[in-house]
Structures are given as structure tokens and as C-alpha cells.
């Protein structure tokens, strides 16, 4: 029904003269591309502002909204990351006093990349060329983000990627920023946990995609220095339906623990296969799998699995002195109230995105431009869902290992445990 309604609106849109209703046309044009999920205009007088914008009256410069774009994988295999991120973005923006970003109105445009790199690049271009955004939140995954980095630098609009691959911000490029802790941070954290628990002989399995390969390479690179012996290294394709042969090979080497580095649903299938062949071993996953949907998809096979995670899943457990607690708890309560589920890390990341944009916008006087915003983001300092961020021109992520906690699935729920 919705499709028909949209088609009808599209037809109407074509009949209308183009300048009469800028917002409507924009919506319809986006639908033409079949990737538009929502265009939200949260502005006291959205249409008027858009019209004023078209005329670019200098007198109205103060009223100009901050245009925030987002390229998120709302659907598809990475939908578990993108869909909560879009919800988190809305909650975090609505949370702001007076629904204003640093005293300015805002306009949010979200496009669905479906987790597809090509699409993410196209939509990023569209946000810049057609929507004229000042800053872009996303893409959700590392693979997409790595494809978008050169485009962001070419178009000179900052991206706040949700990807954990360190290649996004290393080497540092002017317009590429990232929100999630890097895979290097997560690997360092996990290796530290393994060492502390005396699990010295470790097997590694990762997926042959951007996220898996990046993390897998770092584990191989850092293991020896952390005093961990890698006894087996296996891989699988993102669409594999069985990982039993790899697991058997790992079992033969009898490691103390297994590190599995892959986006969903790979680790789901892996854990199911391990349960099937009766192979019991502590499995450690990356932050990408510490999601509520993961335990639902994996079922009883997920019981007891560990993951390096961010405290946003359970921010109330943080000590009161922790500067992360106040904004995270407030966000978590608002999210829970609006969507009926607690936030996860990907929605938590968008809280940080909004805090960053807000802090950066505060530092700017006069009209906001993508370039001014970029310069401000580079030196922003905030405390949000993943620790306190100290941005510098040489670190576009600004996070440390302390932002991570160890979580374990207990009775079907992710629960914080002592590392």
C-alpha cells in the first residue's frame, strides 16, 4: 500500500512545477532512486527555510539549518547495524534541548545503502550534490566506509563512519572520521583479556570481507607481541552455509580459545556448527556481534560466548564518576521509551555522532560550512557512548582501549563480566 501511495505522490510531484515545493520534490526524487527511506524535516517552518535556502539570502544566514546527512545500511545483511543507528540518530537529535543543534535548527536526511559499497558511494554523492549536507553520519560498515573515504575527501564533506576498520582513519585523511573503536583497539583489548585469563594458545577464524580481513590481519600482527600463540588461522566466505570443516581443523589443534572476527550472520552459523559437533571452547567475538539480534538469531548456541563491547548496552552499570554515564543513561532511557528495546552499540555510536556535531557547531561562529565543521570536528572533545573522545588532527577517532568492556551471553542476554 505504501508503495502505491508513494508512486502516486511521485506522479503528483512530476506534475507540479519544480520550484513550488522543494521539499516534496526532493522526497520524490529520492524515492526514484529506490533507496530513500525517510526525509525528515524537523524545522519550525521546513518548507519556508528550504525556499529561503534556495534563494540563499544572506540576511537569513543565522536561520540556516545544519544539514545532517546519513548513509546507513537500514536493510540487508548489515541492517542489524544500520537500522538501530537510524533510530539512535533520531533519538539523540530529539534529546537536544529545544531540538536545536547548538542553537541552530537542523535537517536530517537518511538514505539506505543496503550495506552495498557502490550504493553507499552513490548516496554519499547524492547527499552532497543534491541535498547539500554539511556533514554525513555513516556508512555503517567498514567495507562501505573504505569505499566512501576517497569520495568524502574529493567532495570535501566530513563523514562520521560507524566502521571499526582502522584503515578508515589510518592514514588520516582530512574528511574521514570514525565513531566506533578500531579493530586494533578491540584486538588489543581481547588479546589482553586472553592473556589475563591464561588462554595462550588461540585459534583465529575470520570472514573474507572488509571487516573480517582487516581484523584478522591485525590479530595475526599483534598476537606474538601480546604473548599469544596462534595455533590455527582459518577463513570463510560471507555467504557460507557451513563452517564445520574449519571448526574441525581448529579442534584438531586444541586451542584454549577461538577468536572469530566477522560481521553477522557468520558467527551465528559458526557457533551453531560448533554446538552441532559438540565442540566446546571459549569463543571471543568482535564488537560487531555484540547485538541483541545476534543472540536471537543464534539461539542457545550463543550461550557463554564473549565479545568486546561498549558499555552502552548496559550504561547503568557504570560508576557515577564516569563521565560517559550521564549522556549514555539519558540516551538509553529515551531510546527504550521510544522503541521499546534497549540501545545497542550501533545506536550508541550515533549519540556520539550527534554530540560531536553539536560540540563542533558550538565552536563555529557565523554560517556553518562543511569546511568549518570539519575543522571543528577535528579538535572536538566529548564524552559519549564509547568513552571520552579527544580529537586531534593526527587522530580522527580519538578513542582508547579503556572505552571497551567484556560482555558474555548469559541466559540469552549480553551481560558485562570482569575481563
Amino acid at each position: 500500500m505504501q508503495v502505491i501511495r508513494r508512486l502516486k505522490r511521485l506522479a503528483d510531484g512530476w506534475k507540479r512545477p519544480i520550484a513550488s515545493d522543494a521539499v516534496q520534490i526532493e522526497d520524490d526524487r529520492a524515492f526514484l532512486g529506490n533507496s530513500m527511506m525517510l526525509v525528515q524535516v524537523r524545522h519550525a517552518a521546513g518548507v519556508a527555510a528550504a525556499a529561503a535556502l534556495l534563494l540563499a539570502l544572506p540576511a537569513q544566514a543565522e536561520e540556516e539549518p545544519i544539514k545532517i546527512g546519513a548513509v546507513l545500511a537500514l536493510t540487508g545483511p548489515a541492517g542489524v547495524y544500520g537500522a538501530p543507528a537510524a533510530q539512535g540518530l533520531r533519538v539523540a537529535l530529539d534529546d537536544l534541548p529545544g531540538k536545536l543543534v547548538a542553537g541552530r535548527p537542523y535537517k536530517l536526511t537518511i538514505y539506505d545503502s543496503e550495506g552495498n559499497s557502490t550504493k553507499a558511494v552513490q548516496l554519499f554523492r547524492r547527499l552532497v550534490d543534491s541535498n547539500g549536507v554539511d556533514v554525513i553520519v555513516g556508512p555503517s560498515t567498514s567495507g562501505e566506509s573504505l569505499s566512501v573515504v576517497p569520495v568524502a575527501n574529493q567532495l570535501k564533506v566530513s563523514m562520521l563512519s560507524g566502521g571499526g576498520s582502522e584503515k578508515i582513519t589510518n592514514p588520516v585523511t582530512p574528511y574521514a572520521f570514525a565513531l566506533a573503536p578500531t579493530d586494533r583497539l578491540m584486538v588489543e583489548f581481547l588479546l589482553g583479556v586472553l592473556k589475563k585469563r591464561g588462554l595462550n594458545r588461540v585459534a583465529l577464524i575470520f570472514s573474507m570481507d572488509g571487516f573480517g580481513q582487516s581484523g584478522g590481519t591485525i590479530v595475526q600482527e599483534l598476537a606474538a607481541a601480546a604473548g599469544i600463540e596462534l595455533v590455527a588461522t582459518e577463513t570463510f566466505s560471507p555467504q557460507d552455509t557451513s563452517m564445520t570443516p574449519q571448526l574441525i581443523r581448529i579442534r584438531e589443534k586444541n586451542p584454549d580459545a577461538v577468536i572469530a572476527w566477522a560481521p553477522n550472520p557468520g558467527p551465528s552459523i559458526l557457533l551453531k556448527n560448533a554446538a552441532e559437533i559438540g565442540y566446546k571452547v571459549p569463543v571471543f567475538l568482535s564488537t560487531a556481534n555484540a547485538l541483541a539480534s545476534f543472540t536471537k538469531q543464534t539461539g542457545p548456541a550463543a550461550e557463554g560466548v564473549y565479545a568486546s563491547a561498549l558499555p552502552i548496552i548496559n550504561p547503568a552499570s557504570l560508576p557515577d564518576s564516569d563521565p560517559r554515564k550521564a549522556p549514555s543513561v539519558k540516551f538509553a532511557d529515551a531510546y527504550q521509551a521510544r522503541y521499546g528495546v534497549p540501545p545497542d552499540q550501533t545506536s550508541g555510536l550515533t549519540l556520539d555522532a550527534v554530540l560531536i556535531i553539536e560540540a563542533a557547531a558550538k565552536a563555529i561562529t557565523g554560517p556553518i560550512t562543511p569546511d568549518k565543521l570539519r575543522a571543528a570536528i577535528e579538535t572536538v572533545r566529548i564524552c559519549g557512548a564509547d568513552g571520552c573522545r579527544v580529537g586531534t588532527p593526527s587522530d580522527h577517532r580519538g578513542l582508547t582501549k579503556d572505552s571497551l568492556v567484556l560482555m558474555q551471553v548469559q541466559n540469552g542476554q549480553w551481560t558485562t563480566v570482569q575481563p
Binding site: G76, R249, E276
Partner: protein, 291 residues
């Protein structure tokens, strides 16, 4: 030793899935001489519809599986009725193009109807898991192997012994001569697509609990099944089963003993090598033509 056995068992399950998909190719090819590139999407739809009915609509599995088979069979028959039958020029290429078009259509249909999320269906159950000291065969794997045995046996009987099967083969060899004998080639064509879709739906529903169901998985299923069918000799039901199992075993062994990163490449390289030795596949009949 147990390691090898477990690896082989895992390969057999994967191979059985490939075999079921290859059977779909065989049925359609035997009745119409069309290579149905939408065959992988029959399997995809089987998985997506079944998982969707169970997880989203909360149907019991006992109801969801038959409903899936009926639904996908209807969609398969639609490919023939609205696609193949309406082709103005029935060349190999144009018919293959039509099936590719329907493959895209099916993918879009599933996106709109069921959604774009990865889903898992619950395991079928009933058959118990086999677990000895070192060896494990999952209940779902047994279901898959059982389905392959029953379906391939049934199809062999159908094509070799029954009037319907003979009529289908006759219609493919010479539609005109078959029509003169009172066989309706159109009916045979519809029947073959419906049967292939039904087999695909069963395969998809069987995989949904162990692999994942996702609207975009049809291409990979189709490719693997096609390779299996070619390996076994295109058009031979026995060949499809043997080819599928062999391909699954090759993949599993190369993942377990060679490099897991190159398992697809290894399997396909072996396939290429085998085809150089037996160009018509393991069980294919060599086509010779008098000139």
C-alpha cells in the same frame, strides 16, 4: 580419522543441497532444453518464504513448509506461463534471458513481500541428531540427505518408468512429434517448471535453519547448483546428485585440509579439470551428430 569423517559428513550435507539445486536444473532441461537461471532463486524463495512465515508471521513449521512449497511452485509455474510460453522466438539465448529476468523479478518480489533481513528458520526436528563419541550428524543434515534420496529416487522413477516422465522427455526431444502423439508440450513445460520450483522450495526450506535465508542468496545457490549439474552431466538426474555431492565434498576437503580461503576456487578448478577430461560431465551422454 574422525576428523576426516566429520569433514566428509559436512561436505555431504553441503553437497546434498547442491544436488537438490542441480536436480532443479535437470528437470527443466530434460523437459524443455532450457537452462533455467532462476533456479537458484527458487531455492532462495523457499528459504526466505519459509523463514519469513515462521519468524515474522509466527506460523507453525508444519504449516509453513507446505505453504512455502505451494507458493514457490506457483511462482515457478508463472515463469513458464508468463515467460517461456510467451517468448516470440524460442532460441536458447532468448529463453535463458527470460529466466534471468525472472530471477531478478523474484529477488525484488521477496524484498518487497518478506523483507531484506537475514533470517533463520527453526530446525525441523523429529529426526534425532546422531552423536557418537567423536562424530556428529545433525538432524537437519539428515533431513537434507533424506530429501535428496527421496526426490532423486522419485524423479528417476518418474522420468524412466511413468507415462508423464516419458511424455516430458519426448516433448523435449521433439515437441512436434510429441504433439502428434497426443502430448501437449506446453503442459509438459509448465509441469517441469512447477516441479523444479517445488524441489527448489524444499531445498530452500531445508537450508534455512542451518545457513541463513536472504533475498540475495539465489545467485550463489544457482551457481553452485549449475556447477554441480555440469559436473554430473547436464540433464542426468543421477549425475546431478553425484555432481552435487562431489562438489560439496571437494569444497569441504579443501576448506578442511588445504586453505579455507581458496575453497571455492579449488572446487571450481577441479571442476574445470574434470570437464577437460570428460567434456560432457560424469554421466552426460556424448552428443554426436551425423553430418
Amino acid at each position: 580419522m574422525t576428523q576426516l569423517l566429520q569433514t566428509l559428513l559436512s561436505g555431504l550435507t553441503t553437497g546434498a543441497i547442491y544436488g537438490l539445486i542441480a536436480l532443479g536444473f535437470t528437470i527443466v532441461f530434460n523437459a524443455t532444453k532450457v537452462t533455467n537461471f532462476a533456479n537458484g532463486d527458487f531455492v532462495m524463495m523457499g528459504g526466505v518464504v519459509c523463514a519469513g512465515l515462521v519468524t515474522l508471521a509466527h506460523w507453525p513449521l508444519l504449516l509453513a513448509v507446505p505453504a512455502t512449497i505451494v507458493g514457490v511452485t506457483a511462482l515457478g509455474a508463472a515463469l513458464d506461463v508468463f515467460g517461456i510460453q510467451r517468448a516470440r522466438r524460442k532460441t536458447v539465448l532468448s529463453l535463458a534471458m527470460i529466466t534471468i529476468g525472472f530471477s531478478v523479478l523474484y529477488r525484488g518480489l521477496m524484498q518487497v513481500l518478506v523483507g531484506r533481513d537475514v533470517m533463520f528458520a527453526p530446525s525441523f526436528g523429529i529426526i534425532p541428531d546422531i552423536r557418537t563419541a567423536e562424530l556428529y550428524v545433525g538432524s537437519q543434515s539428515l533431513w537434507i540427505l533424506l530429501a535428496l534420496g527421496l526426490i532423486s529416487g522419485g524423479l528417476s522413477y518418474l522420468f524412466l518408468k511413468t507415462r508423464l516422465g516419458k511424455a516430458m522427455r519426448a516433448a523435449s526431444q521433439s515437441p512436434r512429434a510429441a504433439a502428434l502423439c497426443g502430448i501437449d508440450p506446453r503442459l509438459m513445460s509448465i509441469a517441469s517448471f512447477a516441479m523444479a520450483a517445488a524441489v527448489g522450495a524444499i531445498a530452500g526450506a531445508l537450508i534455512a535453519p542451518i545457513g541463513a535465508a536472504f533475498y540475495d542468496y539465489g545467485l550463489v545457490f544457482g551457481l553452485k547448483g549449475f556447477a554441480a549439474a555440469v559436473l554430473g552431466g547436464f540433464g542426468s538426474p543421477v549425475g546431478a546428485v553425484v555432481g552435487g555431492l562431489l562438489l560439496g565434498l571437494m569444497e569441504s576437503i579443501s576448506a578442511g585440509y588445504l586453505a579455507s580461503a581458496y575453497k571455492d576456487a579449488v572446487a571450481l578448478a577441479i571442476l574445470l579439470g574434470l570437464l577437460l577430461v570428460w567434456p560432457s560431465g560424469l554421466f552426460g551422454r556424448v552428443e554426436a551428430r551425423r553430418v
